[in-house]
Amino acid sequence: MSGTSEVLLRVYRYDPSNGGKPRYQNYRVPTFRGMTVLDALIYIKENLDPTLSIRYSCRMASCGSCGMTINGLPRLACFTQISELRSKYILVQPLRNLPIIKDLVADLDEFFNKHKLVKPYLIRRDVEEQENPREQYRQSEEELERYVQFAYCIKCALCYSACPVVSTDKSFPGPQALAQLYRYYIDTRDEAREERIRIVDGAHGIWRCHFADSCSQVCPKGVDPALAIQLMRREMMFGPSKG
Protein backbone atom coordinates (compact mmCIF):
# COMPACT_ATOMS: atom_id res chain seq x y z
CA MET A 1 0.00 0.00 0.00
CA SER A 2 2.91 2.34 -0.45
CA GLY A 3 2.04 5.72 -1.86
CA THR A 4 -1.50 5.79 -0.46
CA SER A 5 -2.26 7.41 2.86
CA GLU A 6 -4.84 6.35 5.35
CA VAL A 7 -7.42 7.98 7.59
CA LEU A 8 -8.97 6.67 10.72
CA LEU A 9 -12.76 6.93 10.79
CA ARG A 10 -14.38 6.71 14.17
CA VAL A 11 -17.98 5.86 13.43
CA TYR A 12 -21.04 6.01 15.64
CA ARG A 13 -22.84 2.67 15.75
CA TYR A 14 -26.32 2.12 17.06
CA ASP A 15 -28.68 -0.74 16.39
CA PRO A 16 -32.06 -0.62 18.13
CA SER A 17 -32.64 -4.36 17.53
CA ASN A 18 -29.35 -5.16 19.20
CA GLY A 19 -29.86 -3.90 22.74
CA GLY A 20 -29.77 -0.31 21.51
CA LYS A 21 -26.58 0.81 23.20
CA PRO A 22 -24.63 3.33 21.11
CA ARG A 23 -20.94 2.64 20.62
CA TYR A 24 -18.09 3.76 18.39
CA GLN A 25 -16.13 1.68 15.94
CA ASN A 26 -12.83 2.52 14.25
CA TYR A 27 -12.00 1.82 10.62
CA ARG A 28 -8.81 2.46 8.68
CA VAL A 29 -9.51 3.57 5.14
CA PRO A 30 -7.00 4.21 2.34
CA THR A 31 -7.59 7.59 0.74
CA PHE A 32 -7.31 8.90 -2.78
CA ARG A 33 -7.30 12.40 -4.19
CA GLY A 34 -10.73 13.99 -4.03
CA MET A 35 -12.13 11.28 -1.78
CA THR A 36 -15.22 12.33 0.18
CA VAL A 37 -16.36 11.11 3.56
CA LEU A 38 -19.19 9.33 1.74
CA ASP A 39 -16.62 7.51 -0.43
CA ALA A 40 -14.86 6.42 2.75
CA LEU A 41 -18.09 5.14 4.30
CA ILE A 42 -18.94 3.25 1.10
CA TYR A 43 -15.45 1.75 1.19
CA ILE A 44 -16.09 0.56 4.74
CA LYS A 45 -19.42 -0.93 3.77
CA GLU A 46 -18.02 -2.73 0.72
CA ASN A 47 -14.70 -3.90 2.14
CA LEU A 48 -14.69 -3.84 5.92
CA ASP A 49 -18.10 -4.01 7.49
CA PRO A 50 -21.34 -4.57 5.55
CA THR A 51 -23.44 -4.03 8.70
CA LEU A 52 -22.81 -0.27 8.69
CA SER A 53 -25.95 1.67 7.74
CA ILE A 54 -25.72 4.86 5.72
CA ARG A 55 -28.18 6.73 3.53
CA TYR A 56 -27.25 8.43 0.29
CA SER A 57 -28.42 8.71 -3.24
CA CYS A 58 -27.15 11.44 -5.56
CA ARG A 59 -23.51 11.77 -4.34
CA MET A 60 -23.51 15.34 -5.61
CA ALA A 61 -25.13 17.49 -2.94
CA SER A 62 -28.56 17.58 -4.55
CA CYS A 63 -30.72 14.99 -2.83
CA GLY A 64 -30.00 15.95 0.75
CA SER A 65 -30.01 12.41 2.15
CA CYS A 66 -26.42 12.01 3.35
CA GLY A 67 -26.35 14.63 6.12
CA MET A 68 -24.35 13.63 9.20
CA THR A 69 -22.14 15.12 11.88
CA ILE A 70 -18.54 15.08 10.66
CA ASN A 71 -15.86 16.23 13.07
CA GLY A 72 -18.50 17.97 15.13
CA LEU A 73 -20.33 19.88 12.43
CA PRO A 74 -23.38 18.86 10.39
CA ARG A 75 -22.26 18.33 6.79
CA LEU A 76 -23.17 16.41 3.66
CA ALA A 77 -20.91 13.35 3.54
CA CYS A 78 -20.82 13.50 -0.27
CA PHE A 79 -19.86 17.16 -0.25
CA THR A 80 -17.09 16.94 2.34
CA GLN A 81 -13.69 15.92 1.09
CA ILE A 82 -11.37 14.09 3.44
CA SER A 83 -8.61 16.53 2.55
CA GLU A 84 -10.61 19.62 3.55
CA LEU A 85 -10.94 18.28 7.10
CA ARG A 86 -7.15 18.51 7.49
CA SER A 87 -7.05 15.60 9.88
CA LYS A 88 -6.04 11.94 9.86
CA TYR A 89 -8.83 11.26 12.28
CA ILE A 90 -12.47 11.73 11.39
CA LEU A 91 -15.34 11.43 13.81
CA VAL A 92 -18.59 10.51 12.09
CA GLN A 93 -21.88 10.72 13.97
CA PRO A 94 -25.51 10.97 12.89
CA LEU A 95 -27.26 14.35 12.72
CA ARG A 96 -28.07 15.94 16.06
CA ASN A 97 -31.55 17.00 17.14
CA LEU A 98 -33.17 14.03 15.43
CA PRO A 99 -34.06 10.46 16.44
CA ILE A 100 -31.66 7.82 15.12
CA ILE A 101 -32.94 4.88 13.07
CA LYS A 102 -29.65 3.02 12.86
CA ASP A 103 -25.96 3.97 12.84
CA LEU A 104 -25.58 7.13 10.76
CA VAL A 105 -29.17 7.25 9.58
CA ALA A 106 -31.27 9.91 11.30
CA ASP A 107 -35.05 9.80 11.19
CA LEU A 108 -36.20 12.79 9.16
CA ASP A 109 -39.98 12.36 9.71
CA GLU A 110 -40.20 15.06 12.35
CA PHE A 111 -38.22 17.39 10.10
CA PHE A 112 -40.38 16.76 7.04
CA ASN A 113 -43.55 17.13 9.09
CA LYS A 114 -42.46 20.60 10.09
CA HIS A 115 -41.68 21.36 6.48
CA LYS A 116 -45.24 20.33 5.54
CA LEU A 117 -46.65 22.37 8.40
CA VAL A 118 -45.74 25.64 6.69
CA LYS A 119 -47.58 24.63 3.47
CA PRO A 120 -44.61 24.67 1.12
CA TYR A 121 -46.55 25.29 -2.07
CA LEU A 122 -48.25 28.22 -3.74
CA ILE A 123 -51.78 28.89 -2.57
CA ARG A 124 -54.39 30.63 -4.69
CA ARG A 125 -57.68 31.77 -3.23
CA ASP A 126 -59.54 30.54 -6.30
CA VAL A 127 -60.11 26.84 -5.56
CA GLU A 128 -60.59 25.94 -9.20
CA GLU A 129 -57.32 27.63 -10.11
CA GLN A 130 -55.56 25.90 -7.21
CA GLU A 131 -56.66 22.45 -8.36
CA ASN A 132 -56.42 22.97 -12.13
CA PRO A 133 -54.17 25.92 -12.79
CA ARG A 134 -54.69 27.65 -16.12
CA GLU A 135 -53.24 31.08 -15.71
CA GLN A 136 -49.70 32.17 -16.42
CA TYR A 137 -47.95 34.01 -13.63
CA ARG A 138 -45.33 36.46 -14.69
CA GLN A 139 -42.64 37.65 -12.32
CA SER A 140 -40.04 40.31 -12.77
CA GLU A 141 -36.39 39.54 -12.13
CA GLU A 142 -36.63 41.57 -8.96
CA GLU A 143 -39.63 39.59 -7.69
CA LEU A 144 -37.77 36.36 -8.33
CA GLU A 145 -34.68 37.57 -6.47
CA ARG A 146 -36.74 37.98 -3.30
CA TYR A 147 -37.11 34.27 -2.79
CA VAL A 148 -34.96 32.31 -5.21
CA GLN A 149 -32.11 31.93 -2.73
CA PHE A 150 -34.43 30.17 -0.31
CA ALA A 151 -35.74 27.91 -3.06
CA TYR A 152 -32.29 26.30 -3.33
CA CYS A 153 -33.05 24.24 -0.20
CA ILE A 154 -32.53 20.47 -0.61
CA LYS A 155 -34.12 19.51 2.74
CA CYS A 156 -30.97 17.93 4.10
CA ALA A 157 -31.73 18.97 7.73
CA LEU A 158 -28.19 20.21 8.40
CA CYS A 159 -29.60 23.53 9.60
CA TYR A 160 -32.17 21.75 11.73
CA SER A 161 -29.40 19.75 13.33
CA ALA A 162 -27.27 22.85 14.01
CA CYS A 163 -30.03 24.94 15.58
CA PRO A 164 -29.60 25.50 19.34
CA VAL A 165 -33.32 26.21 19.75
CA VAL A 166 -34.41 22.95 18.11
CA SER A 167 -32.12 21.03 20.42
CA THR A 168 -34.39 21.71 23.39
CA ASP A 169 -37.62 22.97 21.84
CA LYS A 170 -39.14 20.23 19.72
CA SER A 171 -42.22 22.34 18.96
CA PHE A 172 -40.09 24.96 17.21
CA PRO A 173 -40.46 24.57 13.42
CA GLY A 174 -36.73 25.04 12.86
CA PRO A 175 -34.75 27.04 10.32
CA GLN A 176 -35.63 25.03 7.24
CA ALA A 177 -39.40 25.22 7.70
CA LEU A 178 -39.33 28.90 8.67
CA ALA A 179 -37.16 29.77 5.66
CA GLN A 180 -39.60 27.94 3.38
CA LEU A 181 -42.45 29.81 5.01
CA TYR A 182 -40.85 33.06 3.94
CA ARG A 183 -39.97 31.69 0.52
CA TYR A 184 -43.70 31.18 -0.25
CA TYR A 185 -44.88 34.16 1.74
CA ILE A 186 -42.83 36.61 -0.31
CA ASP A 187 -43.61 34.96 -3.65
CA THR A 188 -45.87 37.33 -5.61
CA ARG A 189 -47.91 34.39 -6.91
CA ASP A 190 -48.94 33.35 -3.41
CA GLU A 191 -52.20 34.52 -1.85
CA ALA A 192 -52.05 33.09 1.67
CA ARG A 193 -50.05 35.64 3.62
CA GLU A 194 -52.33 35.86 6.67
CA GLU A 195 -52.66 32.10 6.85
CA ARG A 196 -48.89 31.64 6.72
CA ILE A 197 -48.35 34.19 9.46
CA ARG A 198 -50.84 32.41 11.70
CA ILE A 199 -48.95 29.12 11.38
CA VAL A 200 -45.80 30.43 13.09
CA ASP A 201 -47.10 33.25 15.31
CA GLY A 202 -47.33 31.25 18.56
CA ALA A 203 -45.12 30.86 21.62
CA HIS A 204 -43.08 28.13 19.90
CA GLY A 205 -43.11 29.72 16.49
CA ILE A 206 -40.88 32.19 14.73
CA TRP A 207 -40.33 34.33 17.85
CA ARG A 208 -38.15 31.62 19.33
CA CYS A 209 -35.37 32.31 16.81
CA HIS A 210 -32.45 34.12 18.52
CA PHE A 211 -30.39 34.62 15.41
CA ALA A 212 -27.56 32.32 16.48
CA ASP A 213 -27.04 31.93 12.72
CA SER A 214 -25.70 28.38 12.99
CA CYS A 215 -28.21 27.26 10.35
CA SER A 216 -26.74 29.64 7.80
CA GLN A 217 -23.20 28.61 8.73
CA VAL A 218 -23.81 24.93 7.92
CA CYS A 219 -26.20 25.12 4.96
CA PRO A 220 -24.45 23.44 2.00
CA LYS A 221 -26.54 25.34 -0.55
CA GLY A 222 -26.07 28.88 0.73
CA VAL A 223 -29.77 29.17 1.56
CA ASP A 224 -29.18 31.41 4.60
CA PRO A 225 -32.30 30.43 6.58
CA ALA A 226 -31.47 32.93 9.33
CA LEU A 227 -31.83 35.76 6.82
CA ALA A 228 -35.23 34.49 5.68
CA ILE A 229 -36.40 34.21 9.28
CA GLN A 230 -35.41 37.76 10.19
CA LEU A 231 -37.03 39.11 7.02
CA MET A 232 -40.18 37.20 7.95
CA ARG A 233 -40.14 38.68 11.45
CA ARG A 234 -39.99 42.14 9.96
CA GLU A 235 -43.10 41.37 7.91
CA MET A 236 -44.87 40.13 11.02
CA MET A 237 -43.87 43.06 13.23
CA PHE A 238 -44.54 45.84 10.76
CA GLY A 239 -47.19 44.34 8.52
CA PRO A 240 -46.79 42.99 5.00
CA SER A 241 -44.50 44.81 2.62
CA LYS A 242 -45.95 45.87 -0.71
CA GLY A 243 -46.15 43.44 -3.61
Partner: protein
Amino acid sequence: MVSERTLMLIHYLTGLGILVAGAVHIGTVFLTAPVKENLEFAGSPFAVMGVYRNAILAGSLEALLLFVAFHAFNGLRVILIELYQSPRWEHAVTWALTVVALLVVIYGTRTIIIAYSIAQGVA
Protein backbone atom coordinates in the same frame (compact mmCIF):
# COMPACT_ATOMS: atom_id res chain seq x y z
CA MET B 1 -53.91 36.45 26.89
CA VAL B 2 -51.28 38.69 25.36
CA SER B 3 -49.95 37.26 22.12
CA GLU B 4 -46.36 36.12 21.84
CA ARG B 5 -45.82 38.71 19.15
CA THR B 6 -46.84 41.52 21.50
CA LEU B 7 -44.71 40.14 24.33
CA MET B 8 -41.64 40.08 22.10
CA LEU B 9 -42.37 43.54 20.74
CA ILE B 10 -42.52 44.83 24.33
CA HIS B 11 -39.30 42.90 25.04
CA TYR B 12 -37.47 44.81 22.31
CA LEU B 13 -39.04 48.15 23.18
CA THR B 14 -38.20 47.78 26.89
CA GLY B 15 -34.67 46.94 25.74
CA LEU B 16 -34.54 50.34 24.05
CA GLY B 17 -36.14 51.95 27.10
CA ILE B 18 -33.45 50.46 29.34
CA LEU B 19 -30.90 51.89 26.96
CA VAL B 20 -32.12 55.42 27.73
CA ALA B 21 -33.05 55.10 31.41
CA GLY B 22 -29.98 52.94 32.05
CA ALA B 23 -27.70 55.54 30.47
CA VAL B 24 -29.19 58.18 32.79
CA HIS B 25 -28.66 55.87 35.79
CA ILE B 26 -25.09 54.89 34.95
CA GLY B 27 -24.41 58.52 34.08
CA THR B 28 -25.58 59.80 37.46
CA VAL B 29 -23.73 57.11 39.41
CA PHE B 30 -20.44 57.04 37.50
CA LEU B 31 -19.94 60.25 35.57
CA THR B 32 -21.00 63.06 37.91
CA ALA B 33 -18.41 62.38 40.62
CA PRO B 34 -16.29 59.46 41.85
CA VAL B 35 -18.57 56.45 42.53
CA LYS B 36 -17.74 56.33 46.23
CA GLU B 37 -19.04 59.87 46.66
CA ASN B 38 -22.23 59.13 44.76
CA LEU B 39 -22.87 56.11 46.96
CA GLU B 40 -22.93 58.28 50.08
CA PHE B 41 -26.28 58.92 51.74
CA ALA B 42 -26.45 62.68 51.24
CA GLY B 43 -24.27 65.71 50.72
CA SER B 44 -24.30 66.25 46.97
CA PRO B 45 -26.95 66.42 44.22
CA PHE B 46 -25.93 62.94 43.03
CA ALA B 47 -25.55 61.19 46.36
CA VAL B 48 -28.48 58.80 46.82
CA MET B 49 -30.77 61.28 48.57
CA GLY B 50 -29.93 63.89 45.99
CA VAL B 51 -30.97 61.51 43.22
CA TYR B 52 -34.24 60.46 44.88
CA ARG B 53 -35.06 64.10 45.68
CA ASN B 54 -34.92 65.01 42.02
CA ALA B 55 -38.35 64.09 40.59
CA ILE B 56 -36.97 63.55 37.09
CA LEU B 57 -34.16 61.25 38.24
CA ALA B 58 -36.46 59.40 40.64
CA GLY B 59 -39.03 59.04 37.87
CA SER B 60 -36.40 57.69 35.54
CA LEU B 61 -35.36 55.13 38.16
CA GLU B 62 -38.99 54.00 38.37
CA ALA B 63 -39.09 53.71 34.58
CA LEU B 64 -35.86 51.71 34.65
CA LEU B 65 -37.33 49.46 37.31
CA LEU B 66 -40.45 48.76 35.23
CA PHE B 67 -38.60 48.25 31.95
CA VAL B 68 -35.98 45.95 33.42
CA ALA B 69 -38.53 43.95 35.40
CA PHE B 70 -40.50 43.17 32.25
CA HIS B 71 -37.47 42.60 30.03
CA ALA B 72 -35.59 40.39 32.47
CA PHE B 73 -38.47 38.17 33.52
CA ASN B 74 -39.79 37.83 30.00
CA GLY B 75 -36.24 36.82 29.03
CA LEU B 76 -36.26 34.14 31.71
CA ARG B 77 -39.67 32.96 30.54
CA VAL B 78 -38.31 32.57 27.01
CA ILE B 79 -35.35 30.55 28.25
CA LEU B 80 -37.53 28.31 30.41
CA ILE B 81 -40.19 27.54 27.79
CA GLU B 82 -37.45 26.70 25.33
CA LEU B 83 -35.97 24.34 27.87
CA TYR B 84 -39.00 22.12 28.25
CA GLN B 85 -42.44 22.01 26.66
CA SER B 86 -45.72 21.16 28.29
CA PRO B 87 -48.80 23.33 28.86
CA ARG B 88 -48.52 22.82 32.63
CA TRP B 89 -44.86 23.82 32.75
CA GLU B 90 -45.44 26.90 30.63
CA HIS B 91 -48.38 27.95 32.72
CA ALA B 92 -46.40 27.49 35.94
CA VAL B 93 -43.35 29.34 34.57
CA THR B 94 -45.42 32.26 33.33
CA TRP B 95 -47.31 32.70 36.59
CA ALA B 96 -44.35 32.19 38.90
CA LEU B 97 -42.26 34.73 36.98
CA THR B 98 -45.15 37.22 36.86
CA VAL B 99 -45.46 37.01 40.65
CA VAL B 100 -41.72 37.44 41.24
CA ALA B 101 -41.58 40.36 38.80
CA LEU B 102 -44.50 42.04 40.57
CA LEU B 103 -42.85 41.58 43.98
CA VAL B 104 -39.64 43.17 42.69
CA VAL B 105 -41.57 46.08 41.17
CA ILE B 106 -43.58 46.63 44.37
CA TYR B 107 -40.51 46.54 46.58
CA GLY B 108 -38.51 48.85 44.32
CA THR B 109 -41.40 51.28 43.96
CA ARG B 110 -41.71 51.40 47.73
CA THR B 111 -38.04 52.37 47.95
CA ILE B 112 -38.48 55.13 45.41
CA ILE B 113 -41.65 56.60 46.97
CA ILE B 114 -40.33 56.56 50.55
CA ALA B 115 -36.86 57.73 49.53
CA TYR B 116 -38.43 60.57 47.55
CA SER B 117 -40.44 61.61 50.62
CA ILE B 118 -37.49 61.37 53.01
CA ALA B 119 -35.26 63.22 50.58
CA GLN B 120 -37.54 66.24 50.57
CA GLY B 121 -36.40 66.89 54.13
CA VAL B 122 -32.71 66.28 53.49
CA ALA B 123 -30.56 69.21 52.48
